[in-house]
Each structure stands twice: as structure tokens, then as C-alpha cells.
């Protein structure tokens, strides 16, 4: 299909072969008129649309250009330089990346981030999905539960993190207090369990689980809402038909809910992984990456190198690697399981 307005050179040669010179001149003239019409349309309405269209897009185009696209390109440039607030900028090639590969703390950060993701992503799919399925039934008080689970989402992460750090303090924390109380309960006391005060954030083994837990705690309600919306899109007739056939509720869940919810689950997997790769707030507030780098995430690494030591080039190199990992991961996920069609 050829559009008369299009000024493709291919179209010009084809038509010239077919028609004589006079004909060609004629079409050329109409084409020129059409082209002029395109640049400066005759109708006032068309003109208005054009001007307004660009005008309305202008602020966002400038903003996205300056704060997204330019930084994205600039990132690669910076990563090839020794770039700090103190000394002049010099080109160093791939030296930042080479240093990164030799940096033990970088590898530790990468490991922590992968562990975080591997725990966070399944948890924020399974727990919110279970809650959504339960709270999608006519259970008594379901609105209280829905509201309650959702509350942490509106609390800033920093506040959530200090709240849990406060409760998990090894010295005066209320969680250790409760644990001791539970062990004192009549039947449980008979078991004779001993529980020394837990160190939580001060422990090399417990700190990362706690950081993950706080992330899950904050976002359970958020993902639950997404799942609930997905569940409500599934026609009730499907379940009714299944029940007439005598299917158990587990069968209904496995053969109706899961397949029909697949696009939503994929969407949640994607945004949860995106979030997990960039985890920072809890780490900054709760542990400062410690103890002994047990919670030192990639984003915390980038923050330290860039904004504490002002080694922008080095931090940019780490960012490039982070970006590449997220990109590969996202593409692989889309490729393997497909994007949700409804989203």
C-alpha cells in the first residue's frame, strides 16, 4: 500500500519507470503540494492539532530527555573515566570494570543482591497470592484484613525499617521479649527449649533474612491488591462448572486460578525482581551493609562508591553492570514466560 503523502525515494523511481516524463512531472507536482501540505497544513484545525500536539508533549519530552535518556547515555561515558569530585576527569578505558572484577566487596554485594532477589520474589508472589485467594472468598471481616495487610504500603520504607530495627534490638527489643514470653507459656515450657537473646541485625546469618522480611512486610498488601484485581476478573462460572464436576478446591486453584492468573503472576514477578535488584533503603537504615557485608547490596555499593567516596566513574561502572544484569534478566523472563497479555 502506497501512501500519496509519503515521499519515499523508492516510490519515486518506481513511478518514473512506469510513466512518461510528462506524467512524472505531474505527479511530482502533486507530490510537492502534498509535501508542502504536510509541513504546513491548509486546514486551521490540522494546523492547530499539530502545534498543540508538539506543545503538549514538549515538557515531558524535555524532562525525559534530560533526566532519563541523557543520563542513560552519559552513564556509559562516565564509566570509562576516572571521575571524581576532587581530581580532574581522565579517560581510563575499561579500567573501572577491571577493578570491579577484582573487588571482593563488589562480588559480595552481587551475591547479597541475588540472594535477596531469590528470596524476595517468590515470597511476594506466594504470600500475597495466598492472601488474595483467601480474602477473595466471603470470609467474615475480609475488609478489615484487606485494609490491614495493605497499610504498610503507605508507610515510607525508611519508617518501616527503623520500626523493625527498633523492635529487633538485641538489648531492649520487644521481639526478643515476646519470644521469651512464648517460651514461658505453660505447655511450651515443658519442652525445655532454651533461647538466648537473638542478635538479629547484628548477626551475620540473621541480618539479611531480616532485611528481606521487612521488604516483604511492606509490599505484601500491594501485591495482594494486584492479585485480588486479577482474581476478580476470572468469571465465577468457571468455578461453578468446576464444582459441579466435583473438583476439590485445590484442583480449582491449580486448574482455573493459576492458568487464568498467569499474566498477573508474570507481571508481579517482573516488577518484584525489578525492585529486588535495586534494594537500598532498608540496608541504609538498618545495617549500613553489615555486619561483615552480610547485607551489602549492589545499590548500597553504588551509593557508597558514588556518594560517600565520590568515585563517580567506578560507581557508574557498577551501575552499568547492574543495568546489564537487569536487562538480561528482564528479557530472559519475557522470552521464557512471555509478558502478561492483559498488562
Amino acid at each position: 500500500m502506497r501512501n500519496d503523502n509519503s515521499y519515499g525515494s523508492e516510490g519515486v523511481t518506481q513511478s518514473e519507470e512506469r510513466t512518461g516524463w510528462a506524467m512524472a512531472a505531474l505527479t511530482e507536482r502533486t507530490r510537492l503540494t502534498a509535501l508542502r501540505g504536510k509541513i504546513w497544513p491548509k486546514s486551521a484545525q490540522e494546523r492547530e492539532q499539530r502545534v498543540l500536539g508538539y506543545l503538549f508533549l514538549l515538557p515531558d519530552l524535555i524532562g525525559l530527555g534530560v533526566f532519563w535518556i541523557a543520563p542513560m547515555i552519559f552513564l556509559f561515558y562516565i564509566s570509562l573515566h576516572e571521575w571524581s569530585a576532587l581530581s580532574p576527569t581522565t579517560y581510563v578505558g575499561l579500567q573501572n570494570f577491571a577493578e570491579l572484577m577484582r573487588d571482593d566487596i563488589w562480588w559480595k554485594s552481587l551475591r547479597v543482591t541475588v540472594v535477596y532477589m531469590a528470596a524476595f520474589v517468590p515470597l511476594v508472589v506466594i504470600v500475597p497470592l495466598a492472601l488474595a485467594v483467601i480474602l477473595n472468598t466471603k470470609i467474615r471481616g475480609r475488609n478489615v484484613f484487606r485494609t490491614g495487610f495493605f497499610v504498610p504500603f503507605v508507610i515510607p520504607m525508611v519508617i518501616a525499617a527503623v520500626a523493625w530495627a527498633f523492635m529487633l534490638d538485641p538489648g531492649f527489643g520487644v521481639v526478643n521479649h515476646f519470644l521469651r514470653q512464648i517460651l514461658q507459656l505453660p505447655l511450651i515450657r515443658e519442652l525445655g527449649w532454651k533461647l538466648p537473646g537473638q542478635m538479629w541485625l547484628a548477626s551475620r546469618t540473621q541480618a539479611l533474612p531480616v532485611v528481606i522480611f521487612v521488604g516483604v512486610w511492606k509490599f505484601v498488601g500491594f501485591y495482594m491488591i494486584i492479585f485480588l484485581a486479577g482474581l476478580q476478573d476470572i468469571p465465577a462460572e468457571y468455578y461453578e462448572a468446576g464444582m459441579i464436576d466435583g473438583a476439590s478446591s485445590w484442583r480449582l486453584f491449580r486448574d482455573i486460578t493459576i492458568p487464568l492468573l498467569r499474566p498477573v503472576i508474570m507481571f508481579v514477578l517482573l516488577i518484584a525482581a525489578f525492585r529486588a535488584f535495586q534494594v537500598f533503603d532498608q540496608v541504609y537504615v538498618m545495617t549500613s551493609g553489615g555486619p561483615f557485608y552480610a547485607t551489602h547490596t549492589v545499590m548500597y555499593f553504588i551509593y557508597l562508591k558514588g556518594f560517600r567516596f565520590f568515585r563517580f566513574g567506578y560507581a557508574a561502572a557498577a551501575s552499568v553492570v547492574l543495568f546489564a544484569i537487569i536487562l538480561v534478566f528482564t528479557l530472559a523472563q519475557i522470552r521464557l514466560v512471555g509478558l502478561g497479555e492483559s498488562r
Partner: protein, 274 residues
């Protein structure tokens, strides 16, 4: 029947436990903020303050500029939200309704920024803002956070759903496009403005790393940065942490309870990007 009932009871029990785990920390922080300094650190802790005191709040508000930090949090979140709604609704309308050369290409370019991880471009964005001379300023806190493809996309989808006939009728009557936008389209869009407005607000109410890196003077800190500053690796001023947290939790909760319907609908329909 009995099996079903006990199954139900177990389910309820688990739900209630989960609800306590989810809500208790907030209650605990609020309760602790009314305890005098030494009671905050008492072990075993008292569930409710023995006699509620407000000295933590008084000290926080008089010895530290916490009121200012909280006001900054509001100002920044509201500023970002207002500008986002304005710019993204304009851009969304242009992409949905107006015809001009290059529209599809521009839409593609805009959407290509959608999957960029914001944290990965933190360093160059910081340097761009530095170049603009916006470090340690309200512009620097607000403007960079305004722009994102998600908002543009959400508005475009919404405007595509408005029946075209409404606008066509006005066009035939000789109304200008800009009048149509303000007098016909915007009044029809109250719901999406409210929904997206709430979502933008919450996302920015939660922002931390950006205010942390671009503000140096205490006067420009937001509440979260201020609270984080009370928690030093060596010593934590818990009485101020809990008092400041309480003052931040209360507006969060008030907003949530007032607008819960819109927040939930917004997430359910658009799936906010984090």
C-alpha cells in the same frame, strides 16, 4: 463438617497472626513515642507507656527542624504530583488524540524509557542535576522526579477510552482543541486524576535515596532523611526516631484511610511501577 469448621478456624488463626505481625510495628512505634527516654530502652518493655508523655515530640520539634522536614516531605510529594499530573495529562492527550507527524515515533521513544531501572542511572542523573546547579535545592528535589513514562502511558490509555464523538461534536461547533481539552476532556477525567494523583503522591512520599544524595543543608531534608540521621552506626537516638516516625505515620495513615478506594483502584487498574 467438623473438618471444614476446624480448617476454617486454623485459617482464621493464621490470618489474625499475620494481621498482628503486619500492624503491630506501627502500633508499637506510636506507643513507644509517648514513653520518656529511659522507658523506651527498658527491658522488659512496657506495652503501653506508664504515663504518656509528649516530651519526645517537644524536643524533636524544638531542638531539631523536624516540622520543617515533614513540611518538605509534603511540599516535595505534592509538587511532584501536581507537575506530573499536568505534564502527563497533556502528553497523554497529545498521544491519544492529536494528529501530528512523528507521533508514533515519539511514543516509542517515551515508552523506551519505561523499563530503565531508575537506580542504575542515579550517578549520571546526579551529575546532570549538579550541572544544572540544582544540588541542594527544591528544584533538584522536585523536577527530576516528575518525569516518567508510566504516567504518560496511563493518561494516554485513559484518553483513548473516552468516546471521540464528544470531542467531534464540539469541534463541529467550532471549539478550539485547547478549549476541548480543558472544558470537555479534563472534567471527564476527574477519576483518573485522583487515582494517579494518589499513586504519584505515595511513590514520592516514600522516596529516600534521591533526597538523601542531593540535599546537604538540613533545611532541605525530608522527614525520612531526618529520621535516618538519628540512626548512626555508633548510637541511635531512639526516642527521636520513634517520635519522628509517629509524626510521619499519622499523615500516611490519614491519607490512606481517606483515599483507600482510589489507591486500591489505582493499583488494581494500572499496577504502579516501583
Amino acid at each position: 463438617m467438623i473438618a471444614r469448621l476446624s480448617q476454617r478456624a486454623v485459617l482464621y488463626f493464621l490470618l489474625v497472626i499475620a494481621l498482628i505481625v503486619v500492624v503491630f510495628p506501627l502500633a508499637w512505634v506510636v506507643s513507644s513515642s509517648f514513653k520518656p527516654g529511659d522507658e523506651v530502652f527498658a527491658f522488659p518493655p512496657s506495652l503501653l507507656p506508664e504515663e504518656p508523655r509528649i516530651e519526645n515530640f517537644v524536643e524533636l520539634l524544638t531542638e531539631y527542624p523536624f516540622a520543617r522536614w515533614l513540611a518538605n516531605s509534603f511540599f516535595v510529594a505534592i509538587g511532584v504530583t501536581a507537575l506530573s499530573l499536568l505534564f502527563h495529562s497533556m502528553a497523554g492527550y497529545a498521544l491519544a488524540r492529536l494528529e501530528f507527524p512523528g507521533r508514533n515515533l515519539l511514543f516509542l521513544i517515551i515508552m523506551s524509557t519505561y523499563m530503565l531501572p531508575i537506580y542504575a542511572i542515579l550517578v549520571p542523573r546526579f551529575l546532570v542535576v549538579k550541572q544544572l546547579g540544582w544540588l541542594d535545592s527544591y528544584q533538584g528535589l522536585i523536577i527530576p522526579s516528575v518525569f516518567h513514562a508510566f504516567g504518560i502511558f496511563a493518561f494516554r490509555q485513559f484518553f483513548l477510552g473516552i468516546p471521540r464523538e464528544l470531542e467531534d461534536a464540539a469541534l463541529i461547533d467550532g471549539a478550539s482543541r485547547i478549549r476541548i481539552f480543558f472544558e470537555i476532556v479534563l472534567p471527564l477525567s476527574r477519576a483518573i486524576f485522583l487515582t494517579l494523583g494518589v499513586i504519584f503522591f505515595i511513590a514520592n512520599w516514600d522516596s529516600f535515596i534521591w533526597p538523601l544524595i542531593i540535599t546537604r543543608s538540613e533545611n532541605l531534608w525530608v522527614a525520612q532523611v531526618g529520621i535516618a540521621s538519628f540512626r548512626d552506626p555508633q548510637i541511635t537516638f531512639w526516642e527521636y526516631v520513634v517520635a519522628g516516625s509517629t509524626l510521619t505515620i499519622i499523615p500516611s495513615l490519614a491519607l490512606f484511610l481517606a483515599l483507600q478506594r482510589f489507591i486500591v483502584r489505582g493499583i488494581a487498574t494500572t499496577g504502579i511501577r516501583g
